[in-house]
């Protein structure tokens, strides 16, 4: 009897496992066969950026890409980009993973897909850019302590070459043209490079089509051989 009473009134209330106590119901979720990944703000890689930066972290994106590739219920992936750039190696890692996925991928550049956002945009199987979206192509800058020796410039050139090679291999632009856009003077106020808007990206061969959400999703469905959901 005494033992029963103790069981009825536990000293510590058990932790709740559902939303019931907040007066909300759990909605039945319909699983989508197409998954979406948003890459927004700064792409954060080897360094944690100060909190005023909105970031997308590679430790979130990379395992998610692996999970999407392995999950048989997921047929395709839509990548939505609105990024100002970020870590070179994190960006290239995400771009390489996207490019080597076996499942169909479509990217959509909305707002901006600048700097290291460019290789991610071109990495998808098919890429779209919104009519008002922009992409800035500019050289990589050096930050922090710079030692003015030839090795510094060689290293910078090597880093830049990785980006250029990836973009050229995964889009319709030539190395010469991409470099020309990257080193153009007189267009950006405080830098060298080029800003390309919407259909210019398509004309340059960087992006496949101008379009929005409906076009991107219908292309992805077509690539996955599925009808309208």
């Amino acid at each position: 009897m005494r033992q029963e009473q103790e069981e009825v009134k536990p000293a510590v209330p058990p932790p709740s496992t559902s939303l019931q106590e907040f007066g909300q119901l759990r909605l039945p979720s319909t699983e989508s066969s197409l998954h979406v990944m948003t890459i927004v703000g700064q792409i954060e890689g080897h360094m944690i950026l100060p909190p005023q930066n909105k970031t997308t972290k590679y430790e979130h994106i990379i395992p998610q890409l692996v999970a999407i590739e392995q999950n048989p219920k997921i047929l395709g992936l839509l990548v939505i980009l609105n990024t100002v750039g970020g870590d070179v190696e994190a960006g290239l890692a995400i771009a390489e993973m996207l490019a080597t996925m076996s499942k169909p991928t479509v990217s959509l550049v909305l707002g901006g897909g600048h700097s290291i956002g460019v290789p991610i945009a071109v990495a998808a199987g098919h890429s779209f850019i919104a009519e008002t979206a922009t992409m800035t192509i500019h050289p990589i800058r050096l930050t922090g302590m710079v030692i003015g020796v030839p090795q510094t410039f060689e290293y910078l050139e090597k880093m830049q070459e990785r980006v250029v090679r990836f973009v050229v291999n995964n889009s319709g632009i030539s190395t010469e043209r991409f470099r020309e856009l990257m080193f153009r003077t007189g267009e950006l106020a405080r830098d060298i490079g080029t800003v390309i808007v919407g259909k210019e990206a398509v004309q340059e061969g960087l992006i496949d089509d101008v379009g929005g959400l409906a076009q991107a999703l219908s292309k992805l469905r077509q690539m996955c051989h599925i009808g309208a959901e």
Binding site: S18, P50, V84, G85
Partner: protein, 69 residues
Amino acid sequence: MIYSIVPPEVIFAENIALKYPEEVVYLGKRVLVQPMDDRTCQIIQLLSSSPSDFLLPAFSPGNIITLHT
């Protein structure tokens, strides 16, 4: 190495007023939250690639949630 259109002095500006958001598991899904006090925090972002998850009102950004320890 950063390759961004945002100038490094803006990216690396020191701002002590802002706190880093924290990552927690809430109702089985990973969310990015801004802690408010010991037990409550505000949802900033749902970390999921499943579009249907974003229709669940419990995970709306701005929601204040109570964490059970």
